[in-house]
Symmetry: C2
Subunit: 319 residues, 2 copies
């Protein structure tokens, strides 16, 4: 079953969110118009807005309000990717050239800021003080995550705890907030808000772990960007950390590679042969299991089935 | 009379805003703690929070709410300076090394994002939907201004209208919003909100025009950064635009300089001798006059005297 097919439940609302996103990135400024349209066309799984829409089913569904929150969260995600690509020096994402590669780092900084400002404009129409507080706190954490990533880049001495905190800030929090804000925007009970947050957090951790596995196991065609990019760019993810711990001498070889000596290919092979992929897959499955537990504590509702299907998909997907 | 002496009216509140700013930039992360503290220590005129405090006098002054808005606006200003310095490749500001020079562009991008997120956290405690909408719209305009600045950098064909739109977005809007949000946060009547916005907008234009004049007429010691930096960095301000229009051959010489031929010094001298300084000072005075008109439409209040004194100061200051 494909991801799109799991979206049928919210298909119509998702279409109007796509229209809202188009409106939001549209600008009289040609550069912004172009880069905004490019970002939207590049697609993406739209997991955050879908989670907002599904979570909102647990309350008194106000389509307009919920759609605005959904679009805002996708815009925040988009803005963070634009800034991410600056930090990661990434030229390709989803098979397209990144903003920083098409223009430069400075333009990318402000395109990110602009998209983020658009997200704030949408959010400002939602009159739920709690939503604003949660979002502001979450954005702060995301920034800390990025700064942490810059600091820990190429640091072969880091531990798994640092990695987990990084992916929590980088990915899991925004997905958790998507679920929580969907519930808040529709006035769902606090207990439901909390369970949805728990669900989103754990699904998000599984999602990022899977992403980090696929960076080793997938092809460039499947990923839409060169495989092995994380290791190459000094982004040491769980598979690399596990392999460095298990394979004698690998850490030194990776350090040599970062010092300009040796090739990337044998390092990628060593990580794959170390059992790191299986270990990381187990970690992802453990988070997914926690997501299922949280979802099962929610009231029975058709939305729950969709949430679980999507979480299962993103935690196990092959690309 | 010094600027500080004009602040006596709000001195006590301003002190507690300083404390709020310190709390806001404090972080467990050493890099953030250091750069935040550095930014605060570098000082600044704190014009935006002072305008918030003074404007709030026109309503039912809720000290806690107003102080949060004031601190948030100063943080937004600080965040924008950090991103500005990346775009301008500026190494020195207020006599200190900029974040981008101490670390790098990427760190500066996220330090800016972090400070901005802190501002959002403060704002999220203010439950005035109108305030959030105004702020989000204003931040969007500020981003557009930065993108416009990148695009128009080194563009010797630009006109004065482009310059004015740039300084509106870069400076005047945030000052206008400071006045408006102060009034909104204290529940002042809409007509007062509008007049304060008008006042702030025009005072802000005069302020930036004066800033751009001083970049030609002041010394490095007075400015806290090298003089002539605007022209050097391709930021073509009113004095340069006027001089290029008046002095035959100057535009070509500036273009040559940007192409790597010739010296900066004779260009700066040519601008100063062209009458551009006097012309720009008149433009600044005209905006200041409009600010006075707007202020005079406000109800009689001691705050008005302070607003006018400060506007007069920032529009006429020598450094």
């Amino acid at each position: 079953m494909k991801l799109k097919d799991m979206y049928t439940f919210v298909k119509k609302d998702l279409q109007s969110i796509e229209a809202e996103l188009e409106r939001s990135v549209s600008s009289a400024h040609p550069l912004l118009q172009q880069s905004g349209t490019d970002l939207l066309k590049a697609g993406g799984k739209r997991i955050r807005p879908v989670f907002v829409l599904l979570s909102a089913q647990y309350g008194d569904y106000d389509a307009d309000k919920v759609k605005k929150a959904a679009a805002a969260l996708e815009l925040i995600h988009m803005a963070s990717l634009v800034h991410d690509d600056v930090v990661d020096d990434a030229d390709i994402r989803r098979g397209r050239r990144t903003i920083k590669s098409q223009y430069d780092d400075k333009i990318a900084m402000y395109v990110g800021d602009f998209i983020f400002a658009r997200a704030l404009q949408l959010m400002s129409e939602i009159r739920e003080p709690a939503a604003h507080q949660i979002l502001a706190e979450g954005i702060r954490e995301m920034c800390l995550g990025e700064i942490q990533q810059i600091k820990e880049q190429f640091d072969t001495e880091q531990n798994v705890r640092q990695y987990l905190r990084r992916i929590k800030r980088k990915t899991a929090l925004l997905i958790a907030m998507s679920c929580q804000l969907g519930a808040i925007a529709s006035g769902a009970p606090v207990s439901v808000q909390r369970n949805l947050y728990e669900f989103g957090y754990n699904a998000g951790m599984a999602f990022q772990l899977t992403d980090d596995i696929l960076d080793f196991t997938s092809t460039e065609k499947e990923l839409g960007k060169p495989a092995g990019g994380d290791l190459k760019q000094g982004n040491l993810t769980l598979p690399a950390l596990y392999a460095m711990y298990k394979v004698p001498g690998l850490k030194e070889k990776i350090m040599d590679y970062y010092a300009g000596k040796g090739e990337l290919k044998p390092l990628l092979a060593a990580v794959k042969e170390s059992g790191a992929i299986e270990f990381s897959a187990k970690a992802s499955a453990a988070y997914l299991e926690k997501a299922v537990v949280a979802a099962n504590m929610l009231p029975n509702h058709a939305a729950r089935t969709s949430l679980l299907k999507i979480a299962g998909y993103i935690g196990r997907r092959k690309f």
